[in-house]
Structures are given as C-alpha cells and as structure tokens.
C-alpha cells in the first residue's frame, strides 16, 4: 500500500548536463588543472557580474560620437572605459573558455534592429552583461529566434514595422555580441546617469528598446526592519 503513496521528490531530478558538468569538474580537479578553491572563486566572480557596465557603455556612446566609433570598432577597448577588462578581470587571467575576448557592439539605426542569440549553446558577453537570463539559454528561444524573429520579439512585447530590417546575430564562434540601441525620443538633455538607467539588459540583447520611464530599477516593496542596524557614531 505504502508503495502506491510515494511522496513527490523534493527536488527536480538532476539533468544530464549537470551530471556531465560535475563529472568534468571533478576530473579536472583530480587531474590538477584547477582546484576546488579556484572553481569556487570563478563561480563567485561570474555571479558578481551585472549589466551595469554595458548600460554605461551605451549611454556614453549616445553622448560621445567618438566613443561610439570606438565601441563599434573595438568593443574590448571600449569596455575598458566602463571599467571592464575582458582579458585581465576574470580570475583565470584570459577570460573563461566560453567568454572569449572578442566583443562586437552592434549599432541599431531607425531602420536596422539587431537581436542576439546563440543557437548552439548560450554564448553571452558575460564580462560586460553579467549572467544570461534563463530564457536566453532555452532551446525554445534559441531555435525559434533565427527562424521567426518577429514572432519571438512580439512575445517580448516588441512589434516592429515591416520596413525595419531585423538582423539576428547568432554568436556561434568566439565573438560575443551586445546591441547598441537607438537613443529614444524624450531623452534630450539627459545626463549619462539618466540615460544609463533606461538601458536595461533586454535592450542590449535586443528583445526590447529603451523607453523613458522604463528603468532597470524595478520598484520593490520596502518594509521597515524589525531590528534596524544601530550605528554608534
């Protein structure tokens, strides 16, 4: 009887890829390629990254035509100006094998809209854009975006006129892409800080366009602390 009433498992089953990752990681540690401590440091580094430097790069490019030229021709060099050193920042000292040091900044125009995907896995410019969102890694997004980009963009709420060329960038090799969207109307006279706020992560993947009033600062409820920090100075 008890056989028939087995409780549902508390956690999802581990996927084949997770098992593969663990096996490769443990082998690499046993072989002395890196230590468990190294692995912990790299993981912590990757999780500390955010899209903030990329938003800053876009805001700077909107304000400074010379910087825009640099960003479009040499993304790695332009990244240095927003505090990201693709080569020396990662604790490995040469990037991680999936974050090769080659960044292309794809410039949108009113008649050309870029959107980024990696059909083969989930290549993403992590040093400057942080961890990729979950949906970016799904087979659904990866296989549909190249074939039905307008439909997929519409699902994100972005409907573009037929006369705008949509260019899908499939990062299948060592280049990592980010989108430099068009500066929206209604931002005349804004400072770099103000502009950077409306450049959300999705705008730089290309599935959204910046809009005044839509910022990275998602409103969150603020509750007073029950035991507030006491400062004695």
């Amino acid at each position: 009887m008890a056989e028939k009433h087995k409780p549902a498992p508390m956690v999802d089953e581990v996927s084949d890829f997770e098992i593969l990752e663990m096996a490769v990681r443990e082998l690499a540690i046993e072989k002395g390629l890196f230590s468990a401590e190294d692995h912990r440091i790299w993981t912590e580094y990757v999780h500390s990254l955010s899209p903030a430097p990329a938003a800053r790069l876009v805001a700077k490019a909107w304000l400074d035509p010379e910087f825009k030229k640099l960003a479009v021709t040499d993304g790695i060099k332009a990244s240095l100006e927003v505090g990201v050193d693709w080569i020396n920042d990662p604790p490995t000292g040469f990037g991680t094998p999936s974050d090769y040091c080659h960044l292309r900044v794809l410039e949108d125009t009113p008649k050309l809209k870029h959107v980024v995907v990696c059909t083969l896995c989930s290549c993403y410019p992590r040093p400057i854009l942080g961890q990729s969102p979950e949906w970016y890694r799904t087979p659904n997004y990866r296989r549909r975006l190249v074939r039905w980009p307008r439909e997929v963009l519409a699902e994100f709420g972005l409907v573009l006129p037929d006369d705008v060329e949509i260019r899908v960038a499939d990062s299948n090799q060592k280049t990592r892409y980010m989108v430099l969207p068009v500066r929206p109307e209604g931002t005349e006279g804004w400072t770099e800080d103000q502009l950077a706020e409306i450049v959300t992560r999705d705008c730089m993947i290309g599935v959204a366009v910046p809009k005044p009033g839509v910022t990275t600062n998602i409103p969150k409820p603020v509750h007073p602390a029950l035991r507030p920090v006491q400062h004695d100075h």
Binding site: L33, I87, F94, E165, K174
Partner: protein, 120 residues
C-alpha cells in the same frame, strides 16, 4: 611503464594576459576573403564536432567582417591549436536561409571559418 604526460595547460599559458582569440593573431597567414565578398557555405558533412550551423549550409551571403584568427572548432575540440584559421562574419538574407520567410528585408549574421566558405 610510465604514464604518458599531456600538457593540458598549454592554452592557459598561451592566452593569459593576452586573451583568446588575440593569442592566435598572425598565425593564419593572409585571409582568402575580404569584406564585401559573396560566399557560399559549403554543404559538406561534419564529423564529430563543428560550429557551422546546418541551417546555413549551401546558402549564399556577404562577408561583412574579417574577424580574427583562431583554431577551427573542429580542431580546438580535440585540443589541436596548431593550425589557426581566419574567421569571417557573413550576413544572409533570411529568405536565402528559409525560402518561405515572409519579410524580404530581414537578415541574419553569423561567423564561419575559412574552410567552410567558397566564393559565390
């Protein structure tokens, strides 16, 4: 009998402080194609590993960028970094890739190693 010794850190030694693909700069010789060249993706079979998507095989596009030098994925997958090659960014009309695609203006850009491309 002693165990064979493999140098599994040669890539890290080469790329540290320089970056990858920067560490292969100058190793592929002169590029065969230039920006603006029309190319066809070769429709050949792949064995074991490739990063050349099947949906581009046989399609004609235009080179927009001569990108960098690096070992081909087919070699790098086996840790062979001896023969770096040129990588090119190619733009295709979506209708070239998917004949029933309804919007003639839309395009797709992706990269190829030199050996996957032929003049068109």
């Amino acid at each position: 009998m002693s165990k064979p010794q493999y140098d599994r850190t040669h890539h890290a030694k080469k790329a540290t402080g320089i970056g990858d693909p920067q560490c292969f700069k100058g190793e592929a010789g002169p590029p065969k194609f230039k920006e603006g060249d029309k190319v066809r993706v070769r429709n050949r079979s792949d064995v074991f590993y490739t990063r050349c998507q099947v949906y581009t095989r046989g399609a004609v596009g235009e080179i927009t960028k001569v990108c960098y030098e690096s070992p081909a994925p087919e070699d790098e997958a086996w840790d062979n970094t001896e023969n770096p090659v040129w990588f090119y960014s190619v733009v295709f009309r979506q209708q070239e890739l998917w004949p029933e695609y309804p919007f003639p203006g839309d395009t797709l850009e992706t990269e190829f190693t030199e050996d996957w491309l032929e003049p068109a």
